[in-house]
């Protein structure tokens, strides 16, 4: 039994033009202390997936189906009051833009103490001591003075450290980090990522890292999900997916990176762009951009055009692709022939 178990999560947005399905059949699990990466381009639904875990989807969005079980407790359908016991306490979040996350009119100390007092019955002095201790953990120079400073007095990297300190404040089981370093510079990003990784390992905190950066995912996480147009299309151990991606989209994404091509040569681009969620292509949502949509006879596979692919197990990874499924069947058939 995993700490967090998400199955068949279905999130929709009721818009005037009709319902848009932002997430379809998203399932994954997270063990205690495990680090999971969710990768995809903008519009793939990775942020919606993270937000829906804590029911942070704002109207007109809503969770239309599926279940989110955290430590044996079902989170969907929980009242706001009950959910607040989990939110920020046992599962905390780190958002992309540290300036938007911190309250500009409260000092750092006030924000941290407010958070502690909302969840625990402790005195102001105790809360301040905990806050100070957490600031020390995220290696902020002169933490004592920082407590009385305001967010605008700090640099971007420093603010993100404070956010991490706040996320760790109540010793959560899971931290959900939504593009935590995208707004930062490369050298600062590397330091923040290293810090986050170190703290998660030390305190055995699970991490769900949402990012578009395959490099960051490959360095920080143990398992990863690749999302496309509201669905998970590939999941498995990070190393295996990075070294040997199975789904044509994952392959395309990896091959499009500049470091995958010889300098000066053309990059291997994926043609077209991600479809809008309100107007998805039939069958596999990736088929109009897929280089493997044709079968051995050069004809487009009917399954790709008509049928949404199911997950197939390929080694330790699970892939939703008709072409991969076909190849696996072929392999199994050959293996069977050989044994007979």
């Amino acid at each position: 039994m995993s700490l967090l178990e998400v199955s068949d999560l279905d999130v929709r947005f009721a818009l005037r033009q009709g319902e848009v399905r932002a997430l379809r059949n998203v399932s994954f699990s997270l063990d205690r202390g495990e680090r999971l990466g969710i990768v995809g381009e903008s519009g793939a639904g990775k942020s919606v997936a993270a937000f829906s875990l804590l029911n942070l989807i704002a109207s007109p969005g809503f969770i239309a189906g599926g279940s989110i079980r955290f430590d044996g407790q079902e989170l969907t359908g929980l009242s706001d009051r009950a959910l607040r016991k989990v939110r920020g306490n046992r599962i905390s979040m780190i958002f992309q833009d540290p300036m938007m996350t911190l309250n500009p009119v409260l000092s750092i100390g006030e924000q941290m103490i407010e958070c502690l007092k909302a969840h625990r019955r402790i005195s102001h002095r105790e809360a301040r001591a905990i806050a100070l201790h957490k600031l020390q953990q995220v290696q902020i120079p002169s933490p004592e003075t920082r407590l009385d400073q305001y967010p605008h007095e700090l640099s971007g990297g420093m603010r993100q450290r404070i956010i991490i300190a706040i996320a760790l404040l109540l010793d959560p089981d899971i931290i959900i980090a939504d593009e935590p370093t995208t707004a930062l510079d490369v050298t600062i990003q590397a330091e923040i990522m290293a810090l986050l990784l170190e703290l998660c390992e030390k305190h055995n905190v699970g991490l769900i890292l949402i990012t578009h950066d395959l490099g960051v995912v490959s360095q920080v996480t143990q398992r990863m999900l690749v999302m496309y147009a509201g669905r998970v299309i590939e999941q498995g151990p990070t190393r295996e997916i990075i070294n040997d991606p199975q789904h044509p989209y994952t392959q395309g994404l990896m091959n499009a990176l500049p470091q995958m091509a010889t300098p000066g040569e053309r990059l291997n681009q994926i043609p077209g762009s991600m479809p809008s969620l309100s107007n998805l292509p039939s069958g596999c949502a990736f088929h109009p951009r897929c280089g493997f949509v044709n079968d051995a006879n050069g004809q487009p596979r009917r399954a790709c055009l008509e049928q949404v692919p199911d997950f197939v197990d390929s080694g330790n990874c699970r892939v939703a692709c008709h072409m991969v499924a076909e190849m696996l069947e072929e392999e199994q058939r050959l293996a069977k022939e050989e044994t007979s």
Partner: protein, 358 residues
């Protein structure tokens, strides 16, 4: 005092290296460029009471401090650095969107930094710019057709309507946008398509030099590859010269002929791309390169820099990098290092490299 005493030495090495490069006739020469932005408002706002007297108090952001670069014909010079290092300011000054505080910009041997807008007009046709955010750089109230016709009407006032329309069709086709979409507005396109349109607008007047300020950072990975390919195709077809501003070193490695690494308004290293990536010399370049998340290794093994980039309001004395540099010594804190040419075509501004201790 030491700063002042050292300045002529810096200038001397710079002019010496310029003398060498001038013989190959660089397309664009940037010499000793500085740019300060005033933080203290107008004259009345600058007045302060201090010790019972009225004094004038001025504060500046030192965005660029003595940058000298050459861009050769047909090359793609990439300028990399973190936010606030002045790379975009360099691009804007080169394009004449900002006026330098001091220094010179020479285009094709002629000085352009002090020209009036009217005098600059013929140069504007030869040099074009692509901006970072395609959502902001297209006028939301103009159709794509109008957006693309505007530069042509400005620079070719005597062209026939047919001629303008044909040219627009041609550039739209060349960037992979269906010419039938001309009647649409910017907001009807995706980010990648908008950036294609911005590139089409730059290419419309057949420029020879393009300044691209973070042209792909606002785009998704799969779209980045498309736009980068488009820029490389355009370079081959139109024999373009690029000044490419970016913070993404992977893009630089792929795209750049030469790289200039900037830190806090100064150039700390200029080198051919392959040389820079094989053996970065400046400690900052080394740290920057080690910070790229690579796909190969599991663990971040970057060089940890202590502290953060100092504010450009009060520049550190000596080498601007000394406060974060693991190898800094007394001389680094005191003396501004000059860009000194190394054997392999690299130029490095570092006392440690100069003394051979790095």
């Amino acid at each position: 005092m030491t700063h002042v005493a050292n300045a002529p030495a810096v200038a001397a090495t710079e002019t010496a290296s310029f003398g060498k490069e001038a013989s190959t006739q660089a397309l664009l020469e940037i010499r000793e460029l500085t740019k300060r932005f005033s933080l203290s408002g107008d004259f009345l706002e600058q007045l302060r009471f201090k010790g019972g007297r009225l004094v004038r108090h001025q504060e500046h952001v030192h965005a660029i401090n003595g940058v000298s670069l050459d861009i050769q014909r047909g090359e793609a010079l990439c300028v990399v650095g973190e936010s606030g290092c002045g790379k975009s300011t360099v691009a804007r000054i080169v394009m004449g969107l900002l006026t330098p505080s001091s220094g010179e910009i020479r285009y094709d041997g002629k000085r352009i930094d002090h020209l009036t807008p009217r005098q600059l007009l013929p140069y504007r046709k030869r040099m074009q710019m692509i901006f970072q955010n395609p959502y902001a750089s297209l006028n939301p109230r103009m159709t794509i057709q109008q957006t693309l016709e505007e530069p042509l009407r400005l620079h070719h006032p005597n062209w026939e309507r047919e001629q303008v329309r044909d040219k627009v069709t041609e550039v739209m086709t060349s960037v992979g946008i269906d010419p039938d979409w001309g009647k649409r507005f910017g907001h009807e396109f995706s980010g990648g398509q908008r950036q294609r349109i911005a590139i089409a607008r730059a290419l419309a007047v057949d420029p020879e030099f393009i300044v691209a300020d973070e042209p792909i950072s606002a785009l998704d990975v799969s779209i980045q590859a498309q736009v980068l390919n488009l820029l490389m195709d355009a370079q081959q077809q139109h024999h373009l010269t690029y000044l490419f501003i970016t913070h993404d070193l992977a893009v630089v490695e792929h795209f750049g002929t030469r790289v200039a690494v900037m830190y806090l308004g100064t150039v700390c290293e200029v080198a051919p791309t392959a040389t820079l990536f094989a053996s970065p010399r400046h400690p900052y370049t080394q740290a920057l390169m080690s910070a790229i998340p690579r796909l190969e290794d599991d663990r971040p093994q970057h060089i940890r820099l202590s502290g953060e980039v100092p504010t450009p309001v009060n520049l550190p004395s000596g080498c601007v990098f000394h406060a974060r540099c693991p190898y800094a010594n007394e001389r680094c804190r005191r003396e501004v290092p000059a860009l000194i040419a190394q054997g392999d075509g690299t130029r490095v501004a570092c006392h440690g490299v100069e003394e051979g201790r790095l």
